[in-house]
């Protein structure tokens, strides 16, 4: 069985400050982390590999300027990774990447299961998994919390309103994971060192392909185009409520309701 897991990176939000008044984003510490939801997909792939045996192949979710996320995947337990070199788009563009990844998956000789994140931490995009499912004609399970494979089927837990349900799809299938779904393991230090030193089998497991060899040049035209940025209104700190405790409580309850995550 071959599991393809698609991984991206995100600029660590702890290193950025957004200044609405200046209308600017200050990158004080340029440090990238694995997209949290993709990290759960990798963990799910490794658990399935341990349970039923599989080859886990890592592919990138964007045309990254470097291959760090793939090296991290190999050090964490993936068997093989393919870096796809190409001109990074101005914005992460799942429509473009679906074309590139379809070609890459075909060159790999297909797969039984494609796992990736259900959403990205920065742009909130969740279209990559479903786009691949559509192009391949496969079923999709979107927003999984855990997944297991048996008898040619994938079973997953998905949220359904306020509760959780088990769902099942025949293989091959696409499953996307919510951020925080699984407690991911850490990369193995020795493997990581060997990968960066280019030592041993593990270093040879990282291949490099060119996007322009995979698809026609027009397929590399981004679908999304940036037209500008906008900033939320600056926070109005220190608004003091007045009135009776009941009146203040009602005003505070309204303010809280408007700001609670859905």
């Amino acid at each position: 069985m071959r599991i393809i897991v698609i991984l991206g990176r995100v600029l660590d939000p702890r290193g950025i400050v957004v200044n609405p008044r200046a209308g600017r984003i200050f990158v004080n510490r340029e440090e990238y982390i694995l997209q949290p939801a993709d990290r759960c997909a990798l963990e799910a792939a490794l658990r399935i590999k341990e349970a039923v045996g599989a080859e886990v192949v890592a592919l990138p979710r964007t045309l990254l300027p470097d291959d760090d996320v793939l090296r991290q995947a190999l050090a964490t337990g993936a068997d093989r990774a393919v870096y796809i070199a190409g001109q990074p788009a101005a914005l992460p563009d799942d429509g473009l990447m679906a074309r590139v990844l379809l070609a890459a998956i075909e060159r790999l000789g297909g797969a039984d299961l494609i796992l990736t994140g259900a959403t990205t931490m920065d742009t909130g995009q969740g279209q990559l998994g479903p786009r691949l499912a559509e192009a391949l004609g496969w079923p999709q399970i979107v927003g999984a919390w855990t997944a297991e494979v048996a008898d040619g089927r994938v079973r997953a837990v998905r949220q359904d309103g306020g509760s959780f349900v088990w769902v099942e799809a025949p293989l091959p299938a696409v499953v996307t994971f919510v951020p925080g779904a699984l407690k991911p393991r850490y990369p193995d230090g020795r493997r990581l060192i060997n990968i960066y030193k280019g030592v041993g089998e593990i270093a040879a497991a990282l291949e490099r392909w060119e996007a322009k060899d995979l698809v026609a040049p027009e397929a590399l035209t981004p679908m999304l185009e940036r037209r500008g940025q906008d900033f939320p209104p600056e926070r109005e700190r220190g608004v003091r409520l007045s009135g009776t405790p009941e009146e203040m409580a009602r005003a505070a309850a309204d303010a809280l309701r408007a700001r609670l995550p859905r």
Partner: protein
């Protein structure tokens, strides 16, 4: 508006289609508990604004079992035409049955723009429709404007959950598919006199490929680390009744934490101390109950999106970082707050 007038409208629409090469703005409805979801009405309102500038019509698509009566709501919200796929096979949402209805419809109608709610249903369908039709997809739109020269929708999408917004367009790919963030657009004026005759769509039942096996009683989701919790209710020395703090956290779906004072009072463990030397947080909502707010605490919460502080001392430093301040004894405010929240 009677049926014959609508027919006339549809006939005009055909002409518009040929002249402009576009087939209107289409909104795919979300039906929740037998009612049209608010996000669908908001999307119709947003579609009307675009339609005015584009010179296009707004259509809504309803899918489900026994949903035909809901068409009236869609007309009232501003749809010029409604298509209804009413069939037992569509009783509950599943990708393949819904997708086939939509793809057949859109292949026949050639929409210029398609809007879905950014709901579980919309987020599964929109990318598949876009991929099948060769369209672009912009997710979680919170605002939309039009580049009139190229008839291109420009949408604001939240980055890092709304820290800032990128304005994005799909200038080349058609149709332009978007998912609309619930609550981002105003609910439209519901005109009780606006009526129309919905057209029904033939449904050829398709088997869903994902089967729901049943409730996952054996599953508990992993707990979110405090540093990543979206809602935190934290107590300080002046909180008074920690039981009420815990109740407030439950009412808000949040996690309980505190400052060093709360740890000294024995209310929380050391791993729950919010402090730059302990846990630094950036939740969407942070409620500080009876926390005075020293430098270390305030620095650890400054990236929160919204801070409510309740403290009896008007000079407490917490009020300098809070968005909303209540200068009062938490013992008086918390019961009223719990009641106002319906807890």
């Amino acid at each position: 508006m009677d049926a014959s007038f609508l027919d006339l409208l549809m006939a005009q629409q055909e002409e518009v289609t040929e002249a402009e090469g576009g087939g209107g703005i289409w909104v795919v409805a979300d039906v929740v508990n037998g009612a049209v979801a608010p996000v669908t009405l908001e999307a119709i309102g947003a579609a009307r604004n675009l339609a005015g500038a584009l010179g296009a019509y707004v259509y809504a698509v309803l899918l489900g079992d026994g949903v035909s009566d809901l068409a009236a709501t869609l007309y009232q919200a501003g749809a010029d035409g409604v298509r209804v796929a009413d069939h037992p096979a569509l009783a509950s949402f599943a990708v393949e049955p819904y997708l086939e209805v939509l793809v057949d419809l859109f292949q026949a109608e050639g929409p210029e723009v398609i809007l879905f709610g950014a709901t579980p249903q919309g987020q599964e369908l929109a990318p598949r429709v876009a991929q099948r039709l060769g369209g672009g997809l912009i997710e979680h739109a919170t605002a939309m404007t039009l580049d009139e020269a190229t008839r291109t929708v420009q949408a604001a999408v939240p980055i890092y959950g709304g820290e800032y917004f990128e304005i994005v367009a799909c200038p080349q790919a058609r149709p332009q598919v978007l998912t609309v963030e619930p609550g981002a657009f105003p609910a439209p004026f519901m005109d009780p006199y606006r009526k129309g005759e919905p057209k029904s769509i033939e449904v050829a039942p398709v088997e869903p490929r994902v089967r729901v096996l049943g409730p996952a009683g054996d599953f508990t989701p992993p707990s979110v680390p405090l540093a990543q919790a979206p809602v935190i209710v934290a107590a300080g020395r002046q909180a008074g009744d920690f039981g009420l703090v815990e109740k407030l956290a439950a009412a808000l779906g949040g996690r309980v934490a505190g400052d060093r004072g709360a740890r000294d009072a024995g209310w929380i463990g050391p791993e729950q101390i919010i402090d730059v030397r302990g846990v630094t947080v950036a939740p969407k909502v942070y409620v500080a109950v009876g926390i005075r707010g020293d430098t270390f605490h305030n620095a650890a919460i400054e990236n929160s999106r919204f801070i409510l502080a309740i403290h009896p001392d008007p000079t407490a430093p917490i009020f300098r970082v809070a968005d909303l301040c209540i200068e009062a004894d938490p013992r008086e405010v918390l019961p009223a707050l719990l009641q106002a929240l319906g807890a």
